[in-house]
C-alpha cells in the first residue's frame, strides 16, 4: 500500500488504509495493449490510491547477453523495446565504445543523431495517435498515424526494416545506413511535409472545444511531485522543469535546439509538449543533413580487451536511458539496462490519484508508458 507523506510516496506496510472499493485490471486484460496490473482504490468515483505492477513479460535479456561478445550483445539490446529500439542499440554501442576506447568517425556520429531524431518523431506521433484513441477520437488517431507512415518509410529506407532497423554497430554505423544525395533530398522533403501536416493537425486539435475541455486539468502532476518521484523526459518537461539530457551529450553539440517546456503537467500539457517537440526534431534533422561531413562511416581498428564497468546515459524519446557493461576479454560479464518508464511509473500512479475513475486510463496513457522494455530485474536494497 502506498501512503502519502509530504507529497512524496513511500512504501509503508504498517499503515494500511482500507478503501471502500477496489477496481483491478490485468495483468493480461483485453483493454490494455501491454500487460500490466492496475489497482485503483475508489471512494465515491474518485481514485484515492493507485498501484501499477509490471513483471509479467520479463524475458531475462541481460541473462542472454552474458558471455556473448560485445558486438553480438549490442544487437540483442535492440530487442529490448520495439518503439525506442534505436535508443537501446545507440546507447549500448556508446557503452561498448567507451569501455574499449574506440574512436568513432564524425559522419557516423551525425547519422546516429539522425536515426535517433527520426525515432523520436515516430514515437511522439505514436503517442499522439494512442492518446487520441484513448480520448475516443479515432479520426485524430487515423490522421496522425497516416503522417507517421512517412517517418516509417524513411527508417525503412535507412535500415531496411520498419521497427528493428539496427543502424549503429560497434565503431560506427552499418554501411547499409549511409546516405547518398537522393536519399538526403528525400529526408528534407519529408521534413517539410511533416512540419506542414503536424502544424495543421495541432491547430485543429487545439481548436476543438470538446477535446480541449476533456483534457484540460485532467491528471495534473505538480512540478514538486515530479521532481520528488524522479520523473524524466517529456513528462517532467510538461510540468515546466527544463531538463533535457541531449544538452549534455557530445553528439548533440554541433546542433542548435530549444528545450521545450509546458506548464501545468496535465494531459493537455503532455500532448502539446510532444506535438511541439516534433518541430525541434525536424529542425535538428535539417541541421544534420546540411552539415553532414564526408569521410568513413565505421572504424574497424579495435580489439576486444578487459574493461572496467562503464556507464552511459542518453536521452531517448521517453526520458533518460541508462546502460552499463562490464567486459572481460571483450565478452559481456554483466549488463544493466534501465529504461525511462521505470521512474515514470510513479508519475502514472500519482496522476490518477484525486481524479475520477473514468479518467484513469487517459492519465496513465498521458505519461507515455512502455511497460515492455521496463521489465528488468530490479533489486531493492533496504538501507
Amino acid at each position: 500500500m502506498v501512503t502519502k507523506i509530504d507529497g512524496a510516496t513511500t512504501c509503508n506496510e504498517t499503515e494500511r488504509q482500507v478503501f471502500e472499493t477496489e477496481l483491478n485490471m490485468g495483468t493480461v486484460h483485453p483493454a490494455a495493449l501491454e500487460p500490466y496490473r492496475v489497482r485503483l482504490f475508489i471512494e465515491d468515483e474518485i481514485v484515492k490510491d493507485a498501484e501499477i505492477t509490471v513483471g509479467v513479460n520479463h524475458r531475462g535479456i541481460e541473462r542472454i547477453m552474458e558471455g556473448l561478445p560485445v558486438e553480438k550483445a549490442n544487437a540483442l539490446t535492440e530487442k529490448v523495446c520495439g518503439i525506442c529500439s534505436n535508443g537501446h542499440i545507440f546507447n549500448s554501442c556508446r557503452t561498448g565504445e567507451g569501455a574499449l576506447g574506440i574512436e568513432i568517425p564524425e559522419r557516423a556520429k551525425y547519422l546516429r543523431v539522425l536515426a535517433q531524431e527520426l525515432e523520436r518523431l515516430h514515437s511522439h506521433m505514436l503517442y499522439l495517435g494512442h492518446g487520441s484513441e484513448v480520448l475516443c477520437h479515432e479520426t485524430f488517431a487515423m490522421r496522425i498515424f497516416y503522417i507517421r507512415e512517412s517517418v516509417m518509410d524513411l527508417l525503412f529506407m535507412m535500415g531496411g526494416n520498419r521497427v528493428q532497423y539496427g543502424i549503429s554497430v560497434l565503431g560506427g554505423i552499418r554501411p547499409r545506413a549511409d546516405l547518398n544525395s537522393r536519399e538526403k533530398q528525400r529526408i528534407l522533403d519529408t521534413m517539410d511535409y511533416i512540419d506542414e501536416k503536424v502544424a495543421a493537425f495541432a491547430e485543429r486539435f487545439v481548436a476543438d472545444p470538446m477535446v480541449m475541455s476533456r483534457i484540460t486539468g485532467t491528471g495534473e502532476l505538480s512540478q514538486k511531485q515530479a521532481l520528488d518521484l524522479h520523473v524524466t523526459g517529456p513528462t517532467l518537461r510538461a510540468t515546466g522543469y527544463e531538463f533535457d539530457y541531449r544538452t549534455k551529450m557530445p553528439e548533440y553539440e554541433p546542433f542548435e535546439f530549444n528545450v521545450i517546456t509546458q506548464d501545468g503537467g496535465d494531459v493537455r500539457a503532455n500532448i502539446l509538449m510532444r506535438a511541439t517537440e516534433i518541430f525541434e526534431s525536424t529542425n535538428i534533422i535539417r541541421q544534420v543533413i546540411k552539415g553532414l561531413p564526408e569521410g568513413p562511416i565505421v572504424n574497424r581498428n579495435w580489439e576486444l580487451t578487459d574493461a572496467p564497468v562503464y556507464k552511459s546515459y542518453i536521452e531517448v524519446p521517453r526520458g533518460v536511458c541508462y546502460h552499463s557493461y562490464g567486459l572481460e576479454d571483450g565478452k559481456v560479464r554483466h549488463s544493466i539496462i534501465r529504461t525511462p518508464s521505470m521512474s515514470n511509473i510513479a508519475a502514472m500512479q500519482e496522476s490518477c490519484i484525486g481524479h475520477p475513475v473514468q479518467d484513469a486510463q487517459l492519465n496513465i496513457v498521458s505519461c507515455d508508458p512502455c511497460f515492455t522494455c521496463t521489465d528488468r530485474a530490479i533489486q531493492i536494497i533496504k538501507l
Binding site: 495483468t27 509479467v56 542472454i64 540483442l76 520495439g82 487515423m142 512502455c370
Partner: protein
C-alpha cells in the same frame, strides 16, 4: 454459402493478445487497423478488445510463463468457430528469447504459441510488416467461413 457465413463475412472481428514480445509487432498490428495506408477494414475486418465478440485471435510474442494461463483463458472464451494467427518471429519460434546460448532453454519462456494453443496461420518477420499481417488475416477468412457452414 449459408446465411450465417454470408452474414459473418461482412464483420470479421480480430482480437490482439500480447504475450511478452518487444512491442514492435503489436504496434504494427494496431497500425494495420488504424493507419489509413494499410486499413484492414477494407476487408471487413475490425479490431475488438472483447474475446466474446472475436473470430480471429492474433497472438504476438513468445509466451512467457506468466501469460500462458491468461492466453488459454482468452482462447477458450472465444465462441466457435475460431482461428488463431501467430504473428512475428517470437510467436513462431520463440525468437531470440527462447534459448540462451544455443540449446540451453530459457526459464522465462513457455515456448512458441504452438505449444500452448493450436495455430492456423503463421506470419513471419521481425517485426512483421503490416502488409504481411493483412495477407495473413485475410487468408484465414475462407477457412473460418468453411467452418461456419459445417
Amino acid at each position: 454459402m449459408g446465411i450465417k457465413s454470408l452474414a459473418r463475412k461482412k464483420a470479421i472481428h480480430l482480437m490482439l493478445v500480447y504475450t511478452g514480445g518487444c512491442n514492435g509487432c503489436d504496434i504494427e498490428i494496431v497500425n494495420t487497423v488504424l493507419s489509413p495506408k494499410f486499413d484492414i477494414e477494407q476487408y471487413n475486418v475490425y479490431l475488438t478488445w472483447n474475446p466474446r465478440e472475436a473470430d480471429v485471435l492474433v497472438v504476438s510474442g513468445p509466451v512467457t510463463h506468466w501469460t500462458k494461463e491468461p492466453l488459454i483463458k482468452i482462447y477458450e472464451s472465444i465462441p466457435k468457430p475460431k482461428l488463431v494467427v501467430a504473428v512475428g518471429a517470437c510467436a513462431l519460434t520463440g525468437g531470440v528469447y527462447k534459448n540462451i546460448h544455443g540449446e540451453l532453454p530459457s526459464e522465462e519462456i513457455a515456448g512458441p504459441v504452438d505449444n500452448v494453443i493450436p495455430v492456423d496461420a503463421k506470419v513471419p518477420g521481425c517485426a512483421v510488416r503490416p502488409e504481411d499481417v493483412v495477407a495473413g488475416v485475410v487468408s484465414v477468412i475462407p477457412i473460418l467461413l468453411e467452418k461456419e457452414d459445417k
